[in-house]
Subunit: 245 residues, 2 copies
DNA sequence: CGGATGCTTGATGTATCTCAAGACGTGTGG
DNA sequence: CCACACGTCTTGAGATACATCAAGCATCCG
């Protein structure tokens, strides 16, 4: 069985446990998925490419990844981040063609699992089933919140909002215990996720540091004033649907 | 049984039929949903508000609606449009709290259906089941494409892309037979969906008219040059997953 | 040592916002 | 039936937030 810290299916268990109260039997049921094939992938390489025919479900175990879309002329938009414990699209294997790509932002490790295996594990247990449905719905809700951010929030607000969101999600899977935590995104990633140029991200970050909101260096983020960060970004946690944070 | 034009469950049938080949028996199965309660709602009023506890699934029958999110200070972002035949969130009734609102853009008519009724109709028929899963996945894919649009495309490109998307979707449900069709969105709606000010939308539209791309007046959109519109916006229809357009 | 990768800064241009006003059509109540 | 409010589209003027281009520096690594 996996150790309790950031290995195997433990992050997934912790995440699902935020949606529905799970018990030890649920936890053990999930470990069955650890029989699947564990793969790994280097930073800056793709886990899946647009146009492929997906046939497996991927469960991120360690490292950060992202979903992105690109245009023929090279512009690229990150449309979501994957953290340990996240399924990369539980149901997309149904589609015949992937409409986006998945890229590794750091070195990542993940399971590739056959769809029926997931069903075998999850479907018989009502709470797991419900929690995994939540997971799916929340992924979609996060996309909507990003649309609100990119469409309406200013760059400072956008970054503040993103930092708080990632803080909540990392905490859920046990990767942020305090207000300082590993944060491997480069300014380039932040730019691609927020629809702003790198130069502007750089200046926006400086402003936020000057304001005493955050510190960010050496791949570590320190949230100095969480409440102000939430106020600035008008953060409303309801979209994450963590009933039991 | 409903007439074939834009009434009852016919738009839904047509939409699902774009994902999987359906037969007459599937069509008739869907009409069972017409036993549900038909409601209507005036333009500019809300069908559902953020914070509510959703317990029904809504199927849009006629008119246009949108999903939107707003910030405490009044800013608002439209994150999706609903056309006849669309389910407003097949699965959200699972969540205890709605994280967004649904607003009517025109006078709309819709069914309110109990979740179990939908399951009763859809689950026993494999093609219906698969098609409705597609519907869900495509809604999510559209959100991703919008993120790409708002984050990376210029206002002209964004509008062009939106016009093509809506043309495809309207055609799928039989509401656009030629390149001229009813288009009830105001410039304000376009602004709120694209994260641009109304003034700028106005000027962007003028530019597009000048360029001979479209005509738009009196709630009618005329696509003058579809191919150029697609080229300008770098439109790739793969995200709609209309296998059988 | 040379080449990636990432962060930072300055200078310049422009796309887009904001504010403000007017015109038009439509429905409504006095 | 008129007066008025309201929603929508349009235009102008001015301010500014942001992109772009370009360069320099640090770190890491083969």
């Amino acid at each position: 069985m996996a150790s309790l810290t950031a290995a195997g299916t433990e992050p997934l268990f912790r995440l699902l446990n935020c949606f529905m109260p799970l018990d030890q039997a649920d936890r053990e049921a999930l470990t069955v998925l650890e029989a699947g094939q564990m793969l790994s992938c280097d930073a800056r390489s793709d886990i899946a490419r647009e146009g492929e025919n997906p046939s497996v479900v991927r469960l991120l175990v360690s490292g950060w990844a992202c979903r992105y879309k690109d245009l023929p002329d090279g512009r690229r938009q990150i449309v979501g981040f994957f953290l340990p414990g996240d399924f990369c699209d539980q149901n997309v294997y149904i589609l015949s063609q992937l409409d986006h790509s998945i890229g590794a932002l750091t070195h990542v490790r993940y399971y590739e699992i056959a769809p029926h295996q997931i069903k075998d594990v999850i479907d018989p247990r009502p709470n797991l089933l419900r929690a995994s449905l939540y997971h799916e719905l929340v992924s979609s809700a996060i996309q909507r919140e990003w649309l609100l951010s990119i469409g309406q929030r200013s760059p400072v607000e956008r970054l503040a909002h993103l930092f708080v969101e990632l803080y909540y999600r990392l905490r859920a899977v046990g990767l942020a215990t305090g207000l300082t935590f590993d944060f491997p995104l480069t300014q380039n990633h932040l730019a691609e996720a927020n629809g702003v140029s790198v130069v502007h991200i750089n200046r926006t970050l400086q402003e936020m540091r000057r304001e005493g909101l955050i510190e960010l260096s050496d791949r570590q983020l320190r949230i100095i004033d969480l409440e102000r960060l939430k106020r600035v970004s008008m953060f409303n946690p309801n979209y994450l649907h963590f009933n039991r944070a």
